[in-house]
Symmetry: C2
Subunit: 238 residues, 2 copies
Amino acid sequence: MTSSDHSHKCATCPTRHKTEWRDLTEQELELIELTKKSRIYEPGETLYHQGDNADGVFCIQSGLVGARFIDVDGNSALLRLNGEGKTVGYRAFLSRQPQGSSAEVLTPSFICHIDGDALSKLLANSPQVGERFLQHAIEDMNDTESQFGVSLTGSVKVKFLHTLMVFYRQHGSRCEDGLETIDLPIKRSDIAEMIGARPESISRLVRSLQDEELLKFDGRKVSFTNMEAVMQEAGLTA
Amino acid sequence: MTSSDHSHKCATCPTRHKTEWRDLTEQELELIELTKKSRIYEPGETLYHQGDNADGVFCIQSGLVGARFIDVDGNSALLRLNGEGKTVGYRAFLSRQPQGSSAEVLTPSFICHIDGDALSKLLANSPQVGERFLQHAIEDMNDTESQFGVSLTGSVKVKFLHTLMVFYRQHGSRCEDGLETIDLPIKRSDIAEMIGARPESISRLVRSLQDEELLKFDGRKVSFTNMEAVMQEAGLTA
DNA sequence: CGTCTGGTTGATCTAGATCAACAGGAGTGG
DNA sequence: CCACTCCTGTTGATCTAGATCAACCAGACG
């Protein structure tokens, strides 16, 4: 589906089958519909800020949203990327805690805001929704913990290769001139922020990875000239 | 309660009110009871290993259990500490994924193993259990994400002070000679592993923190000579 | 007593940060 | 069409936090 085919009705939403609302009846969806607010967001816009209280959740129909954490000294880190079908801001809402990070739109996105009251009613009446959220939370946690582990033990090289492999998995593999290829969804400096490094370091690393003949870089296109070795170095042979 | 007063019945378990089973009836508890296996674990023992498949969950009645992650090169990190009332291994069980880290007993502990079948039945019949797990997952995630953020942006000093403050919160504040004091629950080298540093670095850091008159260290006792400044540096003024 | 384990200290090395300059688009506006 | 600026990424020179390697110390403990 292209970014132009945006349904404003959950019932016909092309990505609903990936969301927490996947097994709701039209009846139940109507509850969301009543107070739902949808629109296109441009890169740089923010859904909510670190420290905000949640008044509901955001559901990404298409696009990419990053969770940005900023510490007291102004250092910024990208904790996670959320793509289509993901609901964001749900942890703050469900735990009545302030948002731990800001939600920053990274690519043009179509996003719905789901009202807190509606969501509460849904949770109270439709146990499947809670189950889906549990599943979602666990999945998020598994991802984050794995990244956290790598970030505590690994070098910048390992961390970079690790996130490349993450992209490779979700973000689809595509053969082209025979080689496995991915399209980086975000710019270099943002990748740097995902692994706690500086853009300059990534630049140098990219160069040395090419010299090692592990990968080929062309703009945002990355092709794996030696998948085996990359997996190895990324620590996926355990 | 002392470590000698261990109930083998959930119904009379002194820490049940902190667990996922807190709002179950005696009737429902009986289901767990039937297949439950409890015993005392000594430091160094392991509840499960990274990569294992979960056949149930572990419930900590007393003691401390660490989640240890080891990467391909053998580097180890401590991802999280779980104390009394915490259930561990639930994510692997609920997501049918292999354990992402090992559960290593750090202090003498009394721990129950709860069978997967019993748990499944409970989840199917008692929706509160699922809700408690959701709450637990969210809490864990909030903790981990905050640590992850700090670990991406901060220096060893910041990370160290941050985890000290985490200890300070849970692990109870205690005034003594007027100063706020905490007892480190684990040894220095394990703290080092929690923040991705080497023990030697912690040693030197501790010394410089005392020179700065921020903290006093005496064995595992730490007293805050300048709480304000510590909070500041730990990044809790945002 | 020796042996272990946890912690300290010193000397040295290095991955990666920092600072600074620069280069190639992509708009934008005259 | 060119001149301008913005933005992302590159390269070089230098600096430093923290790792590494190695010796050593104190208390615990059989």
